[in-house]
C-alpha cells in the first residue's frame, strides 16, 4: 500500500477536548495527504436545541472509514501513476514522500523534487 495511516499516535487519536477523532493519511510515494475527521458529537433536537443523548456512536466505524478512504486513494494513486508513466510526465513530490519505488528515480529542480517513473511496465 502506498497510502497508509501516518505513524505516531498524534496521527490517529481522539482529541478529548473537541471530541474529534483525527486520522492522518499519507502517500509514502508522492507525499499526498488526506485527513479523516470523525466528529464524535451529540446532535441537538431541532425543536428544543437540547443535545440528544448519544449511545455508543455505533453508527460510526472508523476502521471502515479508513479502509474505504485508503482503497479510494490507492486506486486514484494507481491511476495517476499510470497516467504519468503513459505520458512520460514526472510527478512533483510533497515533503512527506519517503518511499522510492524500484525502477523510479528522483531529481531536484530548485525547490521541486520530481519523481520519474520507469518507461513501460507496472508502476504501482
Amino acid at each position: 500500500m502506498n497510502w497508509i495511516v501516518r505513524e505516531g499516535p498524534e496521527h490517529n487519536s481522539i482529541d478529548g477536548r473537541t471530541h474529534v477523532h483525527h486520522v492522518h493519511l499519507v502517500n509514502k510515494v508522492t507525499g499526498g495527504e488526506h485527513n479523516i475527521d470523525l466528529l464524535l458529537s451529540a446532535h441537538s433536537c431541532p425543536e428544543c436545541q437540547r443535545p440528544y443523548t448519544q449511545n455508543d456512536l455505533g453508527h460510526l466505524d472508523p476502521a471502515k472509514e479508513i479502509k474505504a478512504a485508503l482503497e479510494t486513494l490507492e486506486a486514484n494513486h494507481a491511476a495517476i501513476m499510470a497516467y504519468a508513466q503513459r505520458h512520460g510526465v514526472p510527478v512533483v513530490l510533497g515533503p512527506l514522500a519517503s518511499l522510492l519505488p524500484a525502477g523510479h528515480r528522483i531529481t531536484t529542480h530548485g525547490n521541486l523534487r520530481l519523481l520519474h517513473l520507469p518507461r513501460g511496465g507496472a508502476t504501482r
Partner: protein
C-alpha cells in the same frame, strides 16, 4: 628569557608585592591578547601578528511576533578595541544546512524578522574579523520566532490570504459528511495562498457533521475544525477554509406505534418498532377513533434517531374505539441542498459568513 607566569609570581611570599605583580601580569596578558603581540618580547618580524580572539560573549535569543530578538553581553574587557559579533542560525542543530549568517556587527542587540521560523542559533566574536573565537550554541536550544499576532496588526487589516478548496456535504444515510478537496475532485489536495507563499493543504473527509446546518471549516496546520461561525476560525494560527451548508439526513424509517387503550382512554403508547434516522419529533395522528376526542400523545424521546418512548399525554374523552391506530409522519427537518464555497476567490480578503453565493470550485 621564559615568559613571566602567574606561577612565578605566586611563588613570591610578600603579599603586597605579589598582588601588584599579578595585577601587572593580567593587564599585560590582556593587552597581548588584544594586540597579538608580546610587550615583554617584541619581535622585528614584518608579519602582521595574529590577534588572539576575544573571550566568549554571552547571548540570548528570544522569538516573539515573527522576529528573533538577540541580546549579546560582551565579556568583561578593558582593551579599547571594537568587538565584532557574527550570529548565524539554522534549522539544523549541527549547522550543516540552510545556515543563515548575519553580517558581523559590533551591535549587542539585533532584531531579525523571520515569521514562522524555528532555528538553532550560534555566536562567535572577533577583534579583527579574521581571528574568531569558537562558536557557541544558544544555551536555550531552538528558538521559534512565532507569527505576527493580530494584536500587532491594524484592525480589519486586509490579509492577502486565500485558498482554492472545494467544500461540500453529502449524506450516507446514517451520518452526514463534509468533503474538502482541490480542483481535481475529492481526495485531491488544494492550494492555499498566504502572501507570496503557496502551500498545498490536505484534502479531508469530515464524518458525522451536524445535519441541516451551516458550518465553517478551518485548518490549524494539522487538523480541520468545524465551527458554527466564521469568527471561530479566525484565531491566529488557523487558516479559514470555507463554509458549507450541510445536508440533512434522508427521510427516517418511521416507527410502528400502537395506542394502549383502557376503558376508552388512551393511557399510553406501545412502540412496536422505534424506526431509525429521526432528527426531530414525529407528527403522530390518531385514526379510526370512533367517538374519541382530544387525546394527544406527549413528548417523544428519540435516541440516536430511534424513537424509544412517548409520554402518555392527554388520554382523551374515554370514547376511543379498540381499532384506534397511530399514523406517523415527519421526524426530520426540511433538507436544504448541500454545497458550500471556499473562502478563495475573495479578492485577497477574508469574507464573512453572510450566505452570499460564491464559487465552489
Amino acid at each position: 628569557m621564559p615568559p613571566l607566569s602567574r606561577a612565578q609570581i605566586n611563588g613570591i611570599k610578600d603579599f603586597s608585592l605579589r598582588t601588584v605583580l599579578l595585577s601587572v601580569h593580567d593587564q599585560l596578558t590582556l593587552l597581548n591578547l588584544a594586540t597579538g603581540t608580546n610587550w615583554l618580547e617584541p619581535t622585528n618580524s614584518p608579519q602582521h601578528p595574529a590577534i588572539a580572539p576575544p573571550p566568549r560573549a554571552g547571548f540570548s535569543v528570544v522569538g516573539a511576533n515573527g522576529a528573533f530578538n538577540v541580546q549579546i553581553a560582551n565579556a568583561a574587557q578593558s582593551a579599547n578595541k571594537p568587538l565584532y559579533h557574527e550570529l548565524s542560525y539554522s534549522p539544523s542543530p549541527s549547522f550543516t544546512s540552510d545556515v543563515t549568517t548575519l553580517p558581523a556587527s559590533t551591535a549587542t542587540q539585533q532584531t531579525v524578522p523571520s515569521p514562522g521560523i524555528t532555528a538553532h542559533w550560534r555566536l562567535r566574536s572577533s577583534y579583527d574579523l579574521s581571528n574568531w573565537n569558537e562558536y557557541q550554541l544558544h544555551p536555550g536550544g531552538t528558538v521559534a520566532a512565532g507569527l505576527q499576532s493580530s494584536a500587532a496588526s491594524e484592525s480589519a487589516l486586509p490579509l492577502n490570504q486565500t485558498n482554492f478548496a472545494s467544500i461540500d456535504s453529502f449524506s450516507t444515510g446514517l451520518a452526514v459528511n463534509i468533503r474538502i478537496y482541490g480542483r481535481a475532485g475529492p481526495t485531491s489536495q488544494y492550494a492555499a495562498v498566504k502572501g507570496g507563499t503557496q502551500t498545498l493543504l490536505p484534502s479531508a473527509s469530515i464524518i458525522n457533521a451536524k445535519p441541516n446546518s451551516t458550518q465553517v471549516v478551518g485548518y490549524d496546520g494539522s487538523n480541520y475544525m468545524v465551527r458554527n461561525t466564521m469568527p471561530a476560525v479566525l484565531a491566529d494560527g488557523i487558516i479559514p477554509t470555507g463554509n458549507v451548508s450541510v445536508v440533512g439526513l434522508p427521510a427516517p424509517t418511521p416507527p410502528t406505534i400502537h395506542p394502549i387503550l383502557q376503558s376508552g382512554y388512551i393511557v399510553g403508547y406501545e412502540i412496536v418498532d422505534g424506526g431509525a434516522g429521526a432528527t426531530g419529533p414525529y407528527d403522530l395522528n390518531l385514526g379510526s377513533v370512533g367517538g374519541g376526542k382530544n387525546a394527544a400523545p406527549g413528548a417523544q424521546t428519540i435516541k440516536n434517531g430511534v424513537l424509544v418512548a412517548i409520554a402518555p399525554g392527554n388520554p382523551g374523552n374515554g370514547s376511543y374505539s379498540g381499532g384506534t391506530n397511530v399514523s406517523v409522519q415527519g421526524g426530520v427537518l426540511n433538507t436544504p441542498s448541500g454545497g458550500g464555497r471556499n473562502i478563495g476567490g475573495n479578492g485577497g480578503r477574508l469574507v464573512t459568513n453572510d450566505g452570499t453565493t460564491g464559487s465552489s470550485t
